[in-house]
């Protein structure tokens, strides 16, 4: 039968049309507008000035550094913590389904709501975290007000919210491992640690790769949690690329904002694509 005739290209048309107009065209034109000063109606071409400004101005280039720290730490912590939780949940304990549901729920709650709640927990004088620390005799910490700490406090909250989806992916990965491997190993007298190291970890590689890629890209793009918790402050201590793009937009510097957006594309393209290639090549072995 004639494939072209049955599977008409017209079926693709609506999706392609929407995707082209609202994603691809903006993406391509952004390359041009990032080299202009514009206000949606008129533009003046300024060459690479926006990018030069981005890299020389401290309040702007700090975003690149923070985005990288944010992406690497959130994905790293999620990869490790979620793996431990998943191994625990894959054991024979009876409450694992309840625990899995409990761990999963934060994933469905709006990021802004979580931001508000954790900002309350991290309140320097009244927050519960500091109350607990003081109860044990320590001195309270200014979680979100300290320039050196604020970014890490937000990262911890992000991990709290995001560890669930990573856990669920791992649980599925571990469940798909053939049980006979474990039986053979226990007949050979392998210890729990050996089974974990030689069976579970290598065989849930695909799940691990999904977790790494998903949380890395999510980390590179993240905006709402940071915006709800610190608004990029104190100073620019927690500004990431996405929050700078918004700030420049709100301030009316549309060219600069678009340049920030393009830098985000480039960062993701030069980091995430090779990372994915690398992880997939490992998977085949």
């Amino acid at each position: 039968m004639n494939k072209k005739k049955i599977y008409s290209t017209w079926f693709l048309a609506p999706a392609m049309l929407i995707f082209l107009i609202f994603f691809i065209i903006p993406m391509i034109t952004s390359l041009f507008f990032s080299m202009t000063v514009w206000d949606f109606k008129n533009f003046t071409f300024v060459g690479l000035d926006n990018f030069k400004m981005f890299f020389s101005e401290r309040s702007l280039n700090i975003g690149i550094k923070n985005t990288l720290i944010y992406a690497v730490l959130t994905s790293g912590l999620k990869v490790i913590l979620a793996f431990l939780i998943a191994v625990f949940l894959s054991s024979a304990i009876r409450t694992k389904n309840i625990i899995r549901s409990i761990v999963f729920f934060p994933n469905l709650v709006s990021t802004i709501a979580i931001g508000i709640t954790f900002t309350a927990f991290m309140h320097p004088s009244k927050g519960i975290f500091n109350k607990v620390i003081e109860f044990f005799g320590g001195t309270g910490i200014d979680w979100l007000g300290n320039i050196n700490l604020a970014l890490f406090s937000v990262i911890a909250t992000d991990v709290w919210k995001g560890v669930s989806i990573a856990t669920v992916i791992y649980v599925a990965g571990i469940a798909s491992i053939d049980k006979t491997f474990y039986e053979a190993a226990s007949i050979d007298g392998a210890s729990g640690w050996q089974r974990l190291k030689s069976i579970t970890i290598p065989l849930c590689r695909p799940a691990m790769n999904s977790v790494i890629i998903l949380s890395f890209i999510g980390g590179m793009r993240s905006f709402d949690l940071i915006w709800a918790m610190t608004g990029g402050g104190p100073g620019f201590a927690t500004d990431v690329m996405a929050s700078i793009v918004y700030k420049q937009y709100a301030a009316g510097f549309y060219g600069l904002s678009t340049a920030g957006n393009v830098i985000m594309f480039v960062l993701i393209a030069v980091l995430a694509f090779p990372l994915q290639k690398f992880l997939l090549s490992k998977e085949v072995d």
């Binding site: 952004s30 309840i98 761990v103 709006s110 309350a120 519960i128 695909p206 678009t258």
Partner: protein, 276 residues
């Protein structure tokens, strides 16, 4: 064997306790504080309220001329329309992309898949929307939400259609079934499981979306629940009770969805992300 049982019981206890402390506690905190009076709530403590003030919720509804109701209406409309649109366009696209393997299709595929990684170019999108006169409109917002979810949903549909045997369509074709009804009557009904996944994932994602409405749907008439919550944060920074009441109101729909579809959501998310 007895030692092993005891170890498992210990695991149960430790697991439950830490899950409750780490993951349930924050939600309990929101709920308790949403029922306190202002002074009490601003202490941000975990103590039970002296008096349960359910009227905090009424106050939240009445605030700013019932903006919360407008926001709920907008958010529901946005969610329902976007999800419906996504189901239609993505199932059709995924179908053709899976069944036809030629050069055009692999180019289309490549273009769509870039959207899985690359974030949207925000200001040029506003520029395009202004050019089409859909900026600040619900229609424009729906289109943007659809465009941003197309890569992921097409991938889900394409993957699932790959598991449906082609023979069904061949039989239909020989019997003289038209192209449109071949898809509508034979294929689409078979896509129920993946459609359920698409509905749940996108409904949760779009309902909770803050960033895109912030850029593409400004203005109080267009407020969505997440934007209202964000604005409350500025307005009620001194009345945590009302702030948390709003948080709870917004969380409740998700809680209901979660209780009904718990297993489905988890399975759907796994299917989606592992294939990606």
């Amino acid at each position: 064997m007895k030692k092993r049982k005891r170890l498992l019981l210990l695991g149960d206890i430790i697991g439950m306790v830490s899950a409750i402390v780490i993951f349930v506690f924050p939600f309990l905190f929101m709920f308790i504080n949403s029922l306190k009076d202002r002074r009490e709530a601003n202490l941000l403590s975990m103590a039970l309220p002296k008096e349960f003030l359910w009227e905090n919720y009424k106050k939240v509804f009445e605030a700013n001329n019932y903006i919360v109701l407008t926001a709920f209406k907008n958010s529901f409309l946005l969610t329902v329309l976007s999800v419906l649109g996504l189901i239609i366009v993505c199932s059709m696209a995924g179908y053709v992309l899976q069944r036809r393997k030629d050069r055009t299709m692999s180019i289309v595929n490549f273009v769509i898949m870039t959207g899985l990684m690359i974030p949207p170019a925000i200001l040029p999108t506003i520029w395009v929307m202004q050019g089409l006169h859909v900026y600040r409109t619900l229609f424009g917002m729906v289109m943007v939400e659809i465009a941003l979810q197309i890569p992921f949903d097409v991938m889900l549909y394409r993957g699932f259609i790959g598991t449906i045997p082609v023979e069904l369509e061949e039989a239909g074709y020989i019997d003289g079934c038209k192209r449109a009804s071949l898809f509508g009557k034979i294929i689409f009904p078979l896509l129920k499981p993946v459609t359920a996944t698409v509905i749940i994932l996108n409904a949760v994602g779009i309902f909770n979306d803050f960033t895109n409405p912030l850029y593409f749907l400004p203005g109080s008439k267009n407020a969505t629940v997440q934007l209202t919550l964000y604005n409350f944060m500025g307005q009620y920074s001194n009345s945590y009770n009302l702030l948390f009441a709003d948080v709870i109101l917004i969380t409740v729909p998700m809680l209901i969805v979660f209780i009904i579809f718990n297993k489905r959501i988890v399975d759907g998310m796994v299917a989606g992300s592992v294939k990606g």
